[in-house]
Symmetry: C2
Subunit: 358 residues, 2 copies
């Protein structure tokens, strides 16, 4: 019940343990194609270029950054927590000149603030923003943002690591040009793959590159020949993490069997149940606009961070997250993600916290 990895259902673990076949075996190609199609449904997109990057969530961020940025590009990055700051670091390593828009940790950005940033930096070729800031639990609304970004000829890049599969992530409706996530949060799959999706505008940007993508491993101009293919068929790029693909397919099937709407509603209900219990105990939320999948609360005075978390782990087998970055020692992060967002878990963690804090 930390900030991820989330609990993984037996069905997914069983799928993970199926015999390893070759990455060019027609059976595997079919499994990969199905996985990409399921990912499109979960991302709510028709983007042909939707696939799992062969690494954990941060490889998804790096894949998007390294393919969309050329050295010298101006970009805008929105920072209200660790993952916005990390996006800045990653994009600077790609040679970008990063303009930062800041909000206090736990706050979100208003459309007005982002419009002003776009106005101030008319050369910005991209705006990067975190939908679900895992370090503070802040939930950033995205509707209406793409219109502002596209009016300036920039691309909208969204980090949906902690929201995909637990919150609404409407890539097409919201006009998101590139979006990345991880498997180990609301999809309830082990870590090891990073779902990404690139829209038409992003493709055009990549096709117009004057420089090679600095990462061979993450170079989409080659990856797309394997994941999407073309007139010449499929081309080998690197050996994909075969068994992780089995697991991701199974996890996505479970998501869609439950139904995206129902799953998102469940995350909402469990959040409300947890929130009520925490607030009754006097624990206050850090963010004003909280994620459902991640609940970040201030550590009450008198409670010792490490002691409480150790007792939860040792006595109850419950892992919750400590604070990250400036929140270290000041906040706890309770995940209600995917398979872990249940009444049983909510009531158990509330009971355990009540006992340990007394």
């Amino acid at each position: 019940m930390g900030p991820g990895p989330s609990p993984v259902p037996q069905r997914v673990l069983r799928a993970l343990a199926a015999p390893t076949i070759g990455h060019l075996d027609p059976q595997y190609i079919a499994i990969m194609d199905e996985t990409c199609e399921l990912l499109r449904q979960v991302f709510r997109t028709k983007n042909p270029l939707t696939f799992p990057v062969s690494g954990t969530g941060m490889a998804g961020m790096e894949c998007v950054a390294t393919n969309l940025i050329e050295p010298g590009d101006e970009v805008i990055v929105c920072i209200n927590g660790v993952f916005g700051a990390r996006m800045k670091d990653v994009m600077e390593r790609c040679g970008a000149k990063v303009h930062v828009v800041e909000a206090p940790w736990g706050d979100i950005f208003s459309l007005e603030q982002l419009a002003a940033a776009l106005e101030e930096h008319p050369q910005a070729r991209l705006l990067g923003i975190v939908h679900a800031e895992t370090s503070t639990g802040a939930h950033q609304p995205l509707a209406g943002l793409a219109e502002l970004v596209h009016a300036r000829g920039a691309l909208l890049v969204v980090d949906a690591v902690t929201s995909l599969g637990g919150h609404d992530v409407r890539v097409d409706d919201w006009g998101i040009d590139a979006c990345y996530s991880g498997t180990q949060k609301c999809l309830s799959c082990p870590p090891g793959l990073a779902p990404v999706t690139f829209g038409e505008r992003a493709l055009t940007r990549m096709d117009a590159r004057k420089t090679k993508v600095q990462s061979w491993y993450l170079d989409v101009s080659m990856l797309r020949k394997y994941y999407v293919g073309g007139s010449g068929g499929r081309f080998y790029h690197h050996t994909a993490p075969i068994n992780m693909t089995y697991a991701l397919r199974e996890a996505l099937l479970i998501v869609l069997e439950e139904g995206l709407e129902a799953r998102i509603a469940r995350h909402h209900q469990m959040h409300l149940r947890l929130r009520k219990g925490l607030e009754t105990m006097g624990l206050g939320y850090v963010p004003k606009h909280s994620l459902h999948s991640l609940n970040c609360v201030h550590i009450p005075s008198g409670a010792e961070d490490a002691v409480v978390r150790r007792r939860l782990l040792e006595d109850y087998g419950i892992e919750i997250g400590g604070g990250l970055g400036v929140m270290a020692g000041k906040a706890w992060r309770i995940g209600l993600m995917g398979h872990g967002a249940t009444i049983r878990n909510v009531d158990l963690v509330l009971t355990a916290l009540r006992k340990v804090l007394h």
Copy 2:
């Protein structure tokens, strides 16, 4: 029985399917520490900085290149097949000025040839060479090379993707400064992790960097705070592929239970058995100095590449590899890796080939 992934034992698949716990859970840290220690034994090294990169084999190559190279560095890359050529591409993307030493595909490099290259490019800061060239089956001897490389103040970088766990890879004895591999070849683990090891000289080089590593995901200056730790404990960098680590630990335990020497001898014996059978059928090896783990033979005239491989797959459930790069349509690659290097498999593939070719 292709060029990897190799068959994975049930024990490893069962380990893969164990419940996913957190990457900062003390239990997981213990599993990771044990995995790194087992990797040291298989790499035959005492290097503290030995760990699995969170990606497939090519992420290992990229990790080594991106950490050891700064823009403008001169390097020497030895090319006698696809993976040497790829190393050049990867290193150029890191900003290296690459000097190429070439040998015909299937050939290996002599110490004299490499000494001449080092003589010709005295500014080279690194020499990269492939121990096991998966595209041709060539097996490059490495003993004695480090002395030449170190005498020039350069580092020796070795690609051991297809040899680790099936051939002798003596990182310390051979003076290798950085070495990378993959899990899905002679270790008989699914793909998804790339074991790497860095020696003292490589660490010194990294510590003296003037520029940031261009990949955040693969930046060893941060990764080592998680995998090796320091006075302040372990620091979170990214979410590691938890379940893949379970699998790799189990695969390494199997390697060491068999014993490295015995395992290497088994690969040798199975290679000799296969070779005898193939040559009796008139199939000639491409490389003069062949790997045991990968057997690359010329396609006999009259045989149709795609038809033969499809019949092997459909009638016998055997996958062998086609040719890669300039060998496409001209060679087959038969893997005898790890769990797959058995009398049963050797005799089965020989029987199947005999039938299909008639």
